[in-house]
Symmetry: C2
Amino acid sequence: MISSLTITDVEVTDVRVPTSDNLMGSDPFHKKPDYSAVVIRLHTNSTVQGHSLVFNIGAGNDWVAYGVRDLAVLVVGQQLDTFVQSPAALHQLMVEHHQMRWLADGVFRMAAGGLINALWDLWAQAEGKPMWALLADLTPEQVVACVDWRYLRDVLTPEQALDILHRGRNGIEARRERLQQHGPVAYSTSGWLGLSDAQIEVDIKAMQDRGFQHFKTKVGGNLDDDIKRLTFLRGVIGDEACLMTDANQIWGVDEAIEWMLQLSAFKPFWIEEPTARDDVLGFIKIRQALKSQGIGVAAGEQVPSPVIFKQMLASGALTHCQIDAIRMGGVNDVIAVILVAAKYDIPVCPHGGGIGLCNMIRHYAIWDQLAVSCKREGRFVEYLNFLQDDVFEAPVTVSQGCYDTPVEPGWGLAMKPSFIEQHTFPDGAVWVDRPGPVGAAFTA
Amino acid sequence: MISSLTITDVEVTDVRVPTSDNLMGSDPFHKKPDYSAVVIRLHTNSTVQGHSLVFNIGAGNDWVAYGVRDLAVLVVGQQLDTFVQSPAALHQLMVEHHQMRWLADGVFRMAAGGLINALWDLWAQAEGKPMWALLADLTPEQVVACVDWRYLRDVLTPEQALDILHRGRNGIEARRERLQQHGPVAYSTSGWLGLSDAQIEVDIKAMQDRGFQHFKTKVGGNLDDDIKRLTFLRGVIGDEACLMTDANQIWGVDEAIEWMLQLSAFKPFWIEEPTARDDVLGFIKIRQALKSQGIGVAAGEQVPSPVIFKQMLASGALTHCQIDAIRMGGVNDVIAVILVAAKYDIPVCPHGGGIGLCNMIRHYAIWDQLAVSCKREGRFVEYLNFLQDDVFEAPVTVSQGCYDTPVEPGWGLAMKPSFIEQHTFPDGAVWVDRPGPVGAAFTA
């Protein structure tokens, strides 16, 4: 079947949800996000489609959509078989394009990643496998061939990566069975800065009823408020439950250290994004300062390139590697980062949330626990309990505090047509009666 | 006059030159650049305009143009006076916009920088001052207030920056007089990888006749070719002339070290962009390995954020700081980097080339040498002898190997209307008869 599939069209839709109405997703820096997605659908000469998306938080979603539409010319007319033979070739053609690479990371790498991920989905759809299984069924040689090693081999050589993956074949069937019973352990992000204590308590109780024992909250707005919020949260979840904190880059380096030392009594499991996404030396300094307090350091949702991840992992700046599904150049880049994390034995704890991120990251977590790090302990995957049932044909599910290991082919990103229609920006029903799109996009 | 100026419209034009026809600008990674610019013109309620541009190398110029047009809503209707009162406010509104900052650096920061630079030009036009003089006439307090210190103060505090700028007032009038006689020392980038030795020799001889003693060449395609090229170049310029090398990120970290050790006999003054633009730890390793050979390490044209620059400068990874005029968030970001460089006594040697970059960077170099580092020695500013006379109303000029210090107000970026008309992409006369824009844009 793969050998006959040709991509005939790339459909790109700007979809946004006015989450800022109820401050879901709010943090000190991102005060009023409107969770958004560039929805990418590859049409083919058969009924099989490839789906992916690029998550954004409102304004700017159209920038990525513009980029995806432009890069689509590199994909239309391609045979899936060509991609399958060398997933690295398309990745390189885009990410290292001799004129486009001037655009650097951010919008460019995200747009390229959206298309690359759609090709991977098409492949998995054609094979009838969920993404984690497609990855796990590749040979170690095939996996290593997906990666651009140019800037990575000073910390991890392709040969070392092969060793890691060959070791990962040992006992893989037993791990596969266990993961099919209970997928990766999930944690819940509950303490959005814009929500009241009462709202958060309701949310946490509901998550506890579903088996959750790990919770994350936003910090960094105001130290007194943080102390109150953490006191309250410890009261709700108890002293032993795992409590992560997330500053979303609000602090400078020294400020991050001082602030977290004042919160250390609440035993935060990690501080996520204590400072700028690209401050490798800053993260190293923060990690060193917080080590004796037992506070870990995590980042990833905005780490813009495998090169920054490489430095963060090899230097020990990160204690937890929060790979994200849409920030970089697709599956190829994420494979690289998961392999580097395995070499340095840093747990992969993917970044979820948004629209569709949880759908995607569960596959990476399963692949890592099944075939790369081969470890389950100490690995927690972010889970958000909204924008699922109304959005996706096959919503993400959790059981007893763990992700359910998906069985549907691909990422599981196919959206309900009615959701797309209503939320298309700016002409969908949800948006058409609101303040003008330009004004809404740039609310200060 | 300033108090009455209001921005009424932002005109954005996608301008491209088919430089790939003769391989000007070619290097191992960027094989066929088409030098391009997003041309930004602020119209006002008077005849005064504000001009800037964002340089690109072909495909993707439209991505940045799209972004500038989108962000323009934040500028139209603004009074210049509001910007003058707080240049930081607009910079922050764009670069740290609570929804847009998710787009990270690259396209987003470049688009924001294009608009911010146009505001600065409008200010300078209204004052009737060249940009360097506008900057030099600001009080130290005004300069420091332009900068976003959130992620920088762990290496440079606002108070330390004030000290640097206050010291810079000593002897400023004498330096101003000297710089008005001879602007910053220029160097010539001559050894484009796609050009023949004969072509390069003609070019170098012409530059020597104009007083140039510093030359840069591209390396990294093939070691044997590099040895031949450097042997040839040393033959043309002599053993004593300053010869820089530039790899445009073609190498991994260890490869960069091995390769440059094999070229050390040719006494390269610096190796520019030996590896990935964001590999701080990689640059540190390279610098340490090449130190004993007397080979410096330079970068900047693709350093994507002040945070990466901060790390590169404070760690000693860079021996020369190649600030660029369009990569980051405009004047405000560049001020920050020049101040950090001054603290660590790292010479500012701006990145030129492209369309209009030389027009802009001379102002930064003059301001640095006049009012910040206050040093001329060891500071070299890139100069390219093409895309000037046919392009700009007031082209950049050099005398005796030095930039002439400009006297015209603003950046000096006003383009000849005929140039813009002919080179507008894809409908200008230069492009309309060529292969389709999409095909041309994505030539592999």
